[in-house]
Amino acid sequence: MDLYEYQGKELLRSYGLETLPGIVAGTPEEASRAAETLGGTVAVKAQVLIGGRGKAGGIAVVHNAREAEEAAGRILGMDIRGHTVRRVYVEGGAEIEKEYYLSITVDRAAKKPLILFSTEGGVDIEEVAETKPEAIVRTHVDPLLGLLPYQVREIVFAAGLSGDAAKGVGRTLNHLYEAFEGLDASLVEINPLVLTKDGRVLTLDAKVTVDNSSLYRHEDIAELHDVEAADPQEQRAQEVGLQYVKLDGNVGILGNGAGLVMSTLDVVAQAGGEPANFCDVGGGADAEKISTALDIVTSNEQVESVLFNIFGGITRGDEVARGLLSAIERSGIELPIVVRLDGTNAEEGRRILAENTPENVHTEETMLDAARRAVELARGTRDSNGGR
């Protein structure tokens, strides 16, 4: 679960990280009042769960309340890479001496937390990693020991810091690791972490991603989940326990199991089609769930055909077939649907489908044939619909 900058900062402050004072605003008027309260030069920053807001014009540095109001008026409602700005964070200013990059992530291969620190902060860290890899200090932490003092020294000395910078970055490292652990984060990233002219080390931007699997023990964080930020259909899918991701194509795809569905998307693409979505209905042949999934997939107006790819594993193929028929009937979809059913009791399942299938439902025996058919039918739909 991704958190907004202002939420992440509030959490990080509770672990001792230092930030500038800031106020969240949902309207230009609120932004104006916030700027007045903070006084002096402030930054008005779009709150979105995606990077690149700076380049997109989502950050403005202003000098008074009126300018803040204007900037907020411009930024609120803005679309940044598909995300609508619904709040801005109005934040006080500071005189910056130096910008650093600091993050802690989960390194899957090492199975350990990985700290990345760089004196090349405030810029795209992936670019630094490519062009100047020696400028990034990498340190793995043993999760049972935690971050040890010598590791903090290694990072600080390897980065060539001294004085206030060394002390402030060292302190920040310790607090950030506590936050990473305490919040069950899969990522905490501060870019930039800044050294001010008066020697303080401040968290100027914060990206915090909390492991979804841990939310049961972080009720306070789970409550921060912004339902409005998600695509409405993705949101609905989540509520009924489906994994749904909207894509740009015209072939709607449903299947059971993430790997199989990903593979189905690939096979559709190989057959010359364009997947309209990823939708994993999970295990079982629950007609209700399949029905909801079909609704969600077909609510995407670009969808011109649907491919339903099921590998009956534990659930038997005949049961899947019955569930599917019931779901198709219930949702009353008229778009062409290609069903491919395989695995345990697949023959029986296919027989049931063949006997009872409505006209718009087609069955195929293999994944490849099903994909080709769905792609063909999508083209057919487009043709028959003319220039819809």
Binding site: R108, Q243, G257, G259, L260, M262, F311, G343
Partner: protein, 290 residues
Amino acid sequence: MAILVDDNTRLLVQGITGREGAFHTGRMLESGTNVVAGVTPGKGGQDHDGVPVFNTVQEAAAETGANASVIFVPPPFAADAIFESLDSGMGTICCITEGIPVHDMMRVADFIGTKEATLIGPNCPGVLSPGKANVSIMPRDIFAPGRVGVVSRSGTLTYQIVNELTQRGIGQSTAVGIGGDPIIGTTFIEILGKFEEDPETECVVMIGEIGGNAEQLAAEFVQKEMQTPVVAYIAGFTAPEGKTMGHAGAIVSGGESTAEAKSEALRGAGIRAATNPSEVAELVSETLGG
């Protein structure tokens, strides 16, 4: 022979009286697996499908000589269940549970590094050696005994591919679902190494997906350490960057974690990579035939 589980497996089921645990215990017994004990704290003394239930793994292991465990307990208690199995000397531990916090798994992984045991999963379908032992939630009907090892990060995609193999008359020595979570007990390399040492396994199918760089590391291992031929398949070429595709681990976060990068690494290591599940079976057939 087979790897991880076989005729000598004496299986203990943690969470045997839960819904999932109870259901799959029945299926594992039907597959002829030697399920010797179940554990549910507070239900010691009962029995389930003829399997005695104990309060602790310690007690169950002492009474029944169990040497492998499969875990069905809910996520908040699953890491503890793994530690419990480790402490009582289980050699193979399959954790089926989905949704264990990643920080819990980092602690488990750190600790298990000091032990002899092999942890499969979590969030995995388990391990099945056809005709010998079924320590999994996989549908045994699609399997057939044979000489192809299967190792996969994905569940149903594995069934799809195993089914295609079996339909072509190609049986399996052992199929291992290593799980799709960011932190898993055992990665491709360890399983490939075990298949390499298994005289019965003549070819290995490796099924990967987007996210992480486990496939790249595996490719390097295959090239350097393996004589046994490997056929690979990667899912997720059409997955957009930054979107979660069901598996928490399958997030395309960097250049290394894309399907393209993985396929390239596999081909660079001289591994035959199929472009769809059916082609996997074809390539295996060719490999075994040649």
